[in-house]
């Protein structure tokens, strides 16, 4: 029992051998593998999205090997979107030109598949359920349960709270899930993972974590434009050479194409608008003709984890472990995380099937081929901290030497990286005027089909709003109003005074604000279960 306002809440308790937080590739691979190896274990998977796949977003060209190992028959009944990658192109964009570069060896995609991670996860959830895993979409893990220095499970979010946090008329208390081991598979910047990394000081011995913000749209094109299997990545315009990032264009079948853009959240320019950069890319003369006349089917945004091996926290704590991007296993130079997530989930499951404890998982993962894969590329992403040109040269050197150079570059926390207003060298923003949809961030949110019951408390917490109307105005000019892809944060004038307005209902759960706010003054928490975007084949 715990007091909430003046009302005592009685919570039900459900007990499992293993509770997995997050129905992404890592979490589902873990659940599936565990049931394959230890069928008698009781396993459940919590998912905050209204259905599996609703909140997940990735490029995504997938290396199929780990999936072959996990579910050898997957090619017989493939998920809804699955197109073999056919041709790779790597290009440098200037405002008007497109220059072919040699494709870096990590970015060759022969044998890989362009997929929708959302539909892959929905498909994997069915496989998991067939093995007896209990998958609960619409139930977020709101907080960890810790007893005597040990994680004993998670508390699911309450439903039906009033705006002020008091129980409403159809209030339903979230249950407590107790489990021998809690597997955190929340993806990048998981809210429970974040609390536990701090609580157990899992990041004491590593570099700060670093992130990117990724946008993606699924387009239905006029006939005969899409070239199924064609993969293009670009660097350069519209980003300046000090900002890390690039675009992707993945051609699907049935006249569809994925178009997306990633910008490193270690960007320094306080005026930078990641959403606008993505939209500008779509208007590049080499891209616009492809999209013109087409329609957006679905659109979304998600932060991605880029710190690599040197930022990877310890993967275990008493009673719990971290897998996939909740830990940060993404391989940035490959621009791939799904195969790594699948592998870490499977390895965790194999560990738990044998030992039923989180102890020893960290060492086990660090001996695995995944750790070697990350070690080889560890210096490539940090090299771009010194700008695009140094980054490219460094990447070539690191690739040629197979990551065997004796040094390891450090990462820096993204929330510290912003320059103050006026400090960033003013470049003329030669952006074009846009014609392709969406015209602004609010119309983009519409394509994300995001919904939050407006009666619930705002799930984005800003503990000290005096910073927003004070220091932040003069120091950084309220960058939250620019980095948020869903226009959640607005500074509104009332009676000649500024006030921060949080439009929490627009939120697409990308977590950028939790990462990039220069005062660490924004806290992303889980809203009522089932709230948030409803991505379709992203």
């Amino acid at each position: 029992m715990r007091g909430l306002g003046s009302v005592e809440i009685q919570r039900e308790i459900m007990t499992y051998d293993v509770v997995v937080v997050g129905a992404g590739p890592a979490g589902l691979a873990c659940a599936i593998r565990l049931k394959q190896r230890a069928p008698n274990k009781r396993v459940c998977v919590l998912e905050k999205g209204s259905q599996v796949g609703a909140h997940i977003l990735s490029g995504c060209v997938m290396e199929p090997v780990p999936l072959d190992e996990l579910l050898p028959d997957w090619r017989k009944t493939p998920p809804a979107i699955c197109v073999p990658a056919a041709k790779d192109e790597f290009v440098l964009l200037t405002k008007t030109r497109r220059i072919r570069l040699p494709t870096p060896p990590q970015m060759h995609n022969h044998g890989n598949f362009i997929i929708s991670l959302g539909s892959l996860c929905a498909w994997m959830a069915q496989q998991a359920e067939a093995l007896g895993v209990e998958v609960f979409p619409g139930f977020p893990a709101a907080a960890p349960l810790i007893e005597n220095g040990q994680v004993i499970g998670v508390r699911c979010g309450d439903m039906g709270l009033n705006k002020d946090g008091t129980p409403g008329q159809n209030f339903t208390a979230g249950v407590d899930i107790h489990a021998g081991v809690t597997v955190l598979a929340e993806g990048c910047r998981g809210s429970v993972s974040k609390l536990l990394i701090k609580e157990f000081k899992l990041d004491a011995k590593c570099s700060p974590q670093t992130y990117g913000i990724g946008f993606k749209e699924l387009w239905q094109l006029p006939p005969d434009r899409a070239k199924p299997g064609h993969v293009q990545h670009s660097i350069g315009w519209p980003l300046d050479s000090r900002t890390y990032g690039g675009s992707f264009l993945y051609h699907l079948d049935q006249d569809r194409v994925y178009v997306g853009f990633v910008a490193g959240l270690d960007y320094e320019n306080p005026e930078f608008k990641p959403f606008e950069a993505f939209q500008q890319f779509k208007h590049h003369p080499s891209v616009q003709p492809l999209l013109e006349g087409g329609e957006i089917v679905s659109a979304g945004t998600r932060a991605l984890i880029e710190g690599g091996l040197q930022s990877l926290p310890k993967l275990e704590m008493p009673g719990a472990l971290l897998v996939g991007d909740a830990a940060g296993t993404l391989n940035v130079p490959k621009i791939k995380g799904v195969h790594m997530a699948l592998r870490s989930g499977m390895l965790a499951a194999e560990h738990l099937a044998e030992r039923s404890t989180s102890e020893g998982f960290d060492a086990r993962w660090r001996r695995s081929p995944s750790a070697k894969e990350l070690h080889r590329v560890r210096n490539i992403r940090p090299g771009f901290h010194k700008g695009l040109w140094f980054g490219l040269l460094n990447a070539a050197l690191e690739t040629a030497t197979l990551g065997n150079l004796p040094w390891t570059f450090k990462n820096h926390a993204d929330w510290k990286s912003l320059d103050k207003l006026g400090e960033y060298p003013a470049e003329i923003e030669n952006y074009v005027s846009r014609t392709l949809p969406p015209k602004d961030r609010l119309s983009s949110v519409f394509y994300a089909a995001t919904s939050h019951d407006e009666h619930q408390p705002a799930h984005l917490k800003v503990p000290d709003t005096s910073i927003c109307v004070g220091r932040c105005v003069t120091e950084y000019g309220n960058p939250c109003t620019r980095f948020c892809p869903a226009q959640v944060y607005e500074m509104v004038e009332e009676n000649g005074r500024k006030r921060l307005q949080i439009n929490a209902a627009n939120c697409v759960h990308c977590k950028t604000c939790d990462i990039k706010d220069p005062y660490e003054n924004i806290l992303w928490t889980t809203p009522e279960g089932g709230s948030g975007p409803n991505y379709q084949n992203l």
Partner: protein, 248 residues
């Protein structure tokens, strides 16, 4: 007493509906599907009747492909006692749906049928009325308040002129309006329990009913794009603009 509740699987209200390229229908690929919101209200009302103390068996009924079991399981998790899926690959129109319910009412000897006033996909708003006619029993449509005493329902209806209160004798048909209640959230332990509740599947043909559409859908298209608005400086300019378009 026994209550039948209709549970229709529809595209979720939050989804931006898109018409298929060839105009043959709307896109459901990768789209979230849910219980029709008015049907959720219908089920909630049945649950409340039971909770107010009337000994009641609640049967959730859906018509459609096997996938509708998902929505029926949700209904069972909310509190329905058992479920019936009438399986068909055809999209049934209101008269056919009413016939299916009529057949089930006879088989189940139901005292009350609560349906949503309409489904948010086709917006027909006909099934409840048609069922009452086939069954030859009273109907209380657009209900915003329901009270049961002995064998009589007192139902407040939302009508154009305001609220209308009528009394109907059981057996009867109720269709629900939005303000009737706020459906409860599904609890996790109840989802587990729902897995063991009975869910019966019948083929449409087993009921002696053949799908025979009375309407044929020729073509689907998106509504025309809204033209951008125009701002005028003052009232005289507004009047002039309206006159120019022949509105005034």
């Amino acid at each position: 007493m026994k209550i039948l509740v209709g549970i229709k699987r529809v595209i979720d209200f939050s989804v931006r509906v898109q018409v298929k390229k060839d105009g043959s229908g709307v896109n459901t690929d990768g789209v979230k599907l849910s219980i029709n919101p008015f049907d959720e209200i219908a089920l909630e009302e049945a649950l409340r009747i039971r909770e107010r103390g009337t000994q009641t068996e609640i049967v959730a009924v859906s018509i459609g492909p096997a996938d509708c079991q998902q929505q029926l399981r949700t209904a069972l998790a909310m509190g329905a006692d058992r479920a019936i899926l009438v399986e068909t690959g055809e999209v049934l129109q209101p008269l056919m749906v009413a016939r299916v319910f009529h057949e089930l009412v006879k088989r189940e000897d139901a005292d009350l049928v609560i349906l949503g006033k309409q489904a948010i996909d086709d917006d027909f708003n006909q099934t409840g009325q048609m069922l009452a006619a086939l069954w030859d029993r009273p109907q209380a449509t657009f209900a915003s308040k329901v009270e049961l005493k002995d064998k009589t329902l007192t139902v407040t209806r939302e009508v154009d002129a305001g609220l209308e209160v009528i009394a109907v004798d059981l057996p009867a048909v109720i269709t629900t309006d939005l303000r009737l209640n706020t459906p409860r959230f599904v609890k996790m332990p109840d989802i587990m329990k729902a897995r063991n509740k009975p869910l019966q599947t019948l083929k449409l043909e087993e009921l002696g009913i053949a799908a025979a559409p009375k309407l044929e859908a020729k073509h689907y298209a998106s509504p025309p794009q809204r033209m951008g608005g125009k701002k005028v400086a003052d009232v005289p300019a507004l009047i002039a603009a309206l006159k120019e378009r022949g509105v005034l």
